[in-house]
């Protein structure tokens, strides 16, 4: 399978095929051929059917393999209540019959299972304003493959490709997410362009050192994030940096946001002895924050 533009690692789509988890009502509102990449009918998984049980168990294992070591595996009820019923899951996987043997052991794939095995997933749920989505889980086995010395399996860039195709599949026009200042996931998120900041310090989140970030979704941004070199995104100049451990700076930035100033993360953070996140101040007349502000203000 190929996309109508180049991506950083086209090999991914030689190895993997797309799948979607959504209820029948939800799937009718999705683009099941994002950028022309068809989701085969047998890879459209209905979470309300018993026959989906093995696949959904494997999906849960993917989450555990990806986040388990960091203590963030998602309980199955969260998958069901906060992903599968209200929204959708998009990902890439490989038929069990052709899955690499070591991977098969990781996933504990049942011998009699001949369906698809998920190797990446992106979860998002709709917000109240039409076209606005909140993404809460990006999982990719690519880091695990590197960690386990499976160098012959080249899935570099799997996370970015998965998120790009997922947002196209969901029909997102504006996207929001939350992540921590120190998270390496910011590297992936800024590939989609400058990230508007809705919060810089977030006590409502259990980890207050969380940012709430978002961007208007365009095909150009999705293509750029997936590695289409022909697409260049405009990024504002950096005005200052925030140290990922400097809580006082986060408070200060949050206070400025609450007072009506607008900021974005224009580019990737610098990870060294400290983590430094670039910030750009946006013009006062900068468009507001769709989904998080009243419609009239958008």
């Amino acid at each position: 399978m190929t996309l109508p533009f180049s991506i950083r690692n086209a090999h991914i789509l030689d190895e993997l095929v797309p799948y979607v988890v959504a209820t029948p009502l939800n799937s009718g509102l999705l683009d099941l051929a994002p950028f022309g990449l068809d989701v085969a009918p047998e890879h459209l998984i209905d979470p309300t059917r018993m026959s989906s049980q093995t696949f959904l168990t494997l999906l849960h294992r993917l989450d555990g393999l990806t986040f388990g070591p960091e203590g963030m595996p998602m309980p199955k009820w969260v998958f069901y209540d906060c992903a599968e019923l209200p929204g959708a899951i998009f990902g890439l996987g490989r038929p069990a019959a052709s899955l690499w043997p070591k991977m098969r052991r990781f996933f504990q794939v049942p011998d009699d299972y001949d369906g698809i095995v998920p190797l990446s997933m992106y979860i998002a749920i709709p917000m109240q304003q039409p076209g606005v989505w909140f993404g809460h889980n990006l999982a990719s086995l690519a880091p695990v493959i590197r960690r386990e010395d499976l160098a012959h399996i080249n899935l570099r860039g799997l996370g970015s490709v998965t998120k790009g195709l997922a947002l196209k599949c969901f029909g997102a026009r504006y996207f929001w997410g939350a992540t921590q200042w120190l998270s390496k996931a910011l590297f992936i998120h800024v590939k989609f362009g400058p990230l508007d900041l809705a919060t810089a310090y977030t006590p409502a989140h259990s980890t207050a050192e969380t940012i709430t970030y978002g961007f208007a979704v365009t095909d150009a941004k999705l293509r750029a994030a997936m590695g289409d070199g022909s697409t260049q995104l405009t990024r504002p100049a950096i005005d200052f940096w925030v140290d990922g451990d400097d809580v006082a700076a986060m408070h200060q930035l949050q206070s400025r946001i609450e007072n009506g100033e607008r900021f974005c993360v224009p580019a990737a953070p610098r990870h060294g002895e400290t983590v430094q996140v670039p910030i750009a101040k946006l013009p006062a007349d900068r468009a507001s924050l769709p989904g998080l502000e009243p419609v009239a203000a958008v």
Binding site: L29, Q129, P130, F134, H136, H205, L292, P294
Partner: protein
């Protein structure tokens, strides 16, 4: 109808956690019970830190025993940003000393102490008509009385549910609960609801049911009145034992084959046996004999 529940509002105050982008879609005076402006919180602002701690505490107390405590990030990512959080709270000064101790409130705290919660988030299918979302998933409804009866007034869960359903613009309500949950009786007081799943391996607890209900004003009135038999319910033509996994699987298979199954009444207990009344009919509407 609310008169019977008035004592609750003598000691509890409604509160709402909703960012500005969703507030216009919500009713901040459900059934005429105005949510005080100071009790409408913006999760995008750095305030109300202690209240958020208390909310996590309430969730831990009510869902922890079922192994379903909300992971810490879920409150933000899957509740107050995509949807909103409604609840009733008591002032710390109105709680008895044993309750203050049980809730591990910091000494001198005088703010709101949440005693019930109702969380709803939009469902993608609710945008089918192209307009505002009318389908909402209620994925948490709970009251402190469930784990500590008497800490808050009786009837708290029903009132929270009835008001919560008026806060959100719910035309079709989706929800999940466990077959043996005490809340099944409360939910069925809203009216007979249709099963989306009867046995749910996708959930942490497979003996979970998923349901949908088209919400009407009369449903909310019957919820508060709690009649022995809901006037909208058809007579049962089958009963299911919620402890019989095989029976639940059979029911699930029937739903997947196109049969429509409604829960039409509260569970009935005979000693250690429980039976839930159902009305089953074909997709064409013919009742199962």
């Amino acid at each position: 109808m609310l008169l019977n529940y008035a004592p609750i509002l003598d000691v509890c105050e409604p509160f709402l956690i909703a960012h500005p982008g969703i507030r216009d879609a919500l009713n901040i005076a459900p059934a005429g019970v105005a949510i005080p402006p100071e009790n409408i919180l913006d999760p995008l602002k750095q305030q109300h830190v202690e209240l958020y701690k208390q909310l996590r505490n309430l969730d831990q107390l009510t869902f922890g025993p079922f192994g379903m405590q909300m992971p810490s990030w879920v409150f933000y990512d899957c509740a107050v940003i995509p949807g909103a959080f409604f609840g009733l709270a008591m002032r710390a000064s109105k709680l008895e000393p044993w309750a203050l101790e049980a809730l591990r409130l910091p000494e001198g705290y005088t703010g709101l102490v949440p005693v019930s919660q109702f969380i709803a988030i939009p469902m993608l299918g609710g945008f089918e008509s192209g307009g505002a979302c009318g389908h909402w998933l209620m994925y948490s409804a709970e009251s402190i009385n469930q784990v500590s009866p008497g800490m808050a007034p009786a009837g708290l869960l029903k009132l929270t549910l009835a008001l919560g359903l008026r806060v959100f613009p719910v035309a079709r309500l989706y929800g999940t609960t466990q077959w043996r949950s005490h809340k099944l009786s409360t939910y069925v007081d809203m009216g007979p609801f249709e099963l989306v799943t009867a046995y749910t391996p996708a959930h942490s607890l497979p003996r979970t049911l998923s349901f949908r209900l088209d919400v009407e004003e009369t449903h909310l009135l019957t919820l508060l009145a709690g009649p022995r038999t809901n006037p909208h319910a058809r007579p049962p033509n089958d009963w299911v034992d919620p402890d019989d996994v095989d029976a639940l699987v059979q029911l699930q298979m029937a739903i997947e084959s196109g049969e429509r199954v409604q829960v039409v009444g509260p569970p009935v207990h005979y000693g250690s046996r429980v039976r839930v009344p159902l009305h089953r009919c074909t997709d064409a509407g013919e009742s199962r004999s």
